[in-house]
Point group: C2
């Protein structure tokens, strides 16, 4: 960021917005009018528009002590795009509103917008609008993402049927452990500010929390292979909670196979040896993985298995069968919104 | 609100969202899927979609000491719809995200959503999504509004031409004076909490700041009479600032007639007698009026004058003529972003 510090008050709102957004050039032909009027204008089109919105609040969703602003900007976009992909849709536009206290300099906000620009470029979405305002305390970022899909492609949470296979992209639990590492290093630093954070050996888990990616590749594979999931959701609150949403809205039960839940070797090792945690609990309850959880008919399973990064983790059952997880021990437990019930 | 106080933490996020939004029923046929999935789904359609977003922050945009939550919810929607109307478009959907500290009860948020519901009902827009999160301090509301318009109807800020007539709906300066009244009563209360606020005699100006309306009627009149403004903007930052935006983006000058600026009699009287202010300065620099400022060709003027609530206030000139205001005294001054330059 260099050594310069420009106060936001030196610029005023209009010059600030101009400075932050002047390098954003729309790339989607559906973007008719971007920043600079009362509202942005986008083409309607024959299909459907898909709209998702999320708010990130300092000290609630992120800690400035260990969150680089560029990463934060990137993540603020990605978590919204993840919701659009979870509808089997393709994001095309985003709006970004920020409320910011005077502790942030113009240069700090430029870092934030560098991350936003990086995500927009990588995922081919256009920044079309937003609002920039003062706050009394801290930083808030509100993002709305808009995507497109044909009517028949859109995948809701309520379409899972008995016999469908429950699948997950990527691996789970890493973001949760990354957060534990960052919190631990923060405490070390607060106790002795001469200590430098030890993050080098934890590259994977730390990157998963600070700079997550959304699974565009999975949606593109579905389109290419003509696969239509019967239901889908993104994993933001932990696998258990998302499975519950699908079961509740689809009015079905499930049987999850603990041994099939994909967990990165670094996560397994760190959970057990560093934090004394059960890796499965990290995966079930951790959250912020931004992987896609979906169900497909069994006939689609061969095509799904061709994708290097998707694993079947269970089967959809009748609602009356309940929501169950079969542990590695062979015993079956009730799945709970936060993890599983070892007591039963 | 009654005497009950339920803590937000007693409910949790999912139950809270459900409680706040369960009575919202979509009324536009373009709303395909509302709250309850990763994203909302709306129809594309042949025309264009218009997207606007705004953030309201406690202690920056509103003061809880004199802002009833129901009014705040209403206003949060209305200010966004005003931006959609300013594009000559019709709003159909909104998303509402809130970040809220533990000082707010569930009952308080229900009041906020009652106001949101009232605005949605009055303006026929559907609440289709949002996010609800904790904040460390205060209340933040982020609203995104989505509207529709045919391509040829959309009115930007950059279409004003030399000879066009500059027009304004309603009257100006009242919201600014309303804010002065509320701030004065707040100070009285802070000095002696036994004093009751004297708001009764200031009904018009107080309502204009606490519960503004967006000018749907003007847009509907344009459609009915087949009037196409050449440029348009809504008055959120004060008349001067909005005129400057139109002149800058249209690359034109203007000559405003001070005597033609519509000011409510209550505003004139209160500005002079209570606050010792120039009513014209209140109109030029006040802001938050949410009236529509637009330009039309002179041939449209007869139709415009039929509308009871629209006044021509000046003429568009060549850019080289500058941005001028002719005072009641007959002298001409430079118009500045904040008011006008008496010094020249």
């Amino acid at each position: 960021m260099g050594d310069t510090r420009t106060e936001i008050s030196q610029l005023g709102e209009f010059k600030l917005i101009n400075k932050l957004t002047k390098n954003f050039k729309p790339s989607n032909k559906s973007t008719v009018k971007s920043i600079g009027d009362d509202a942005a204008v986008i083409q309607g089109g024959e299909g459907y528009k898909v709209v998702s919105t999320d708010m990130l609040v300092e000290e609630i969703h992120f800690d400035m002590m260990y969150t680089p602003l560029k990463h934060l900007g990137y993540k603020a976009i990605v978590v919204n795009l993840s919701d659009i992909y979870a509808m089997n849709a393709t994001p095309e536009q985003v709006t970004v509103s920020i409320a910011v206290s005077s502790k942030f300099s113009v240069e700090a906000l430029e870092e934030l917008y560098k991350g936003i620009a990086l995500a927009c470029d990588r995922y081919k979405v256009d920044l079309i609008g937003g609002d920039t305002t003062a706050s009394m305390k801290g930083l808030m970022i509100s993002v709305t993402a808009i995507g497109i899909a044909e009517e028949k492609e859109i995948t809701y949470r309520d379409g899972a049927k008995e016999g469908d296979v429950l699948c997950i992209s990527g691996d789970l639990g890493a973001a949760y452990l990354g957060l534990q590492v960052l919190e631990r290093e923060k405490q070390v630093y607060l106790e002795d500010s001469n200590m430098q954070p030890e993050l080098e050996h934890h590259g994977y888990v730390v990157e998963r929390i600070l700079k997550p990616e959304a699974r565009r590749d999975v949606i593109e594979y579905f389109a290419k292979e003509n696969i239509k999931p019967t239901s889908m959701i993104d994993v933001s609150d932990g696998l258990s909670s998302e499975i519950m949403h699908i079961c509740e809205q689809s009015k079905v039960g499930c049987l999850i196979d603990e041994g099939a839940i994909p967990i990165h070797p670094e996560v397994t090792e760190m959970a057990v040896q560093t934090f004394g945690l059960d890796p499965t609990v990290c995966a079930l309850s951790g959250g912020e993985d931004y992987e896609l959880l979906f169900t497909v008919q069994q006939s689609e399973l061969e095509k799904i298995k061709q994708f290097p990064d998707i694993n079947p983790i269970g089967i959809i059952t009748k609602e009356s069968m309940g929501r169950k997880i079969k542990a590695k021990s062979g015993r079956t437990y009730d799945l709970l919104a936060q993890g599983w019930d070892h007591g039963k």
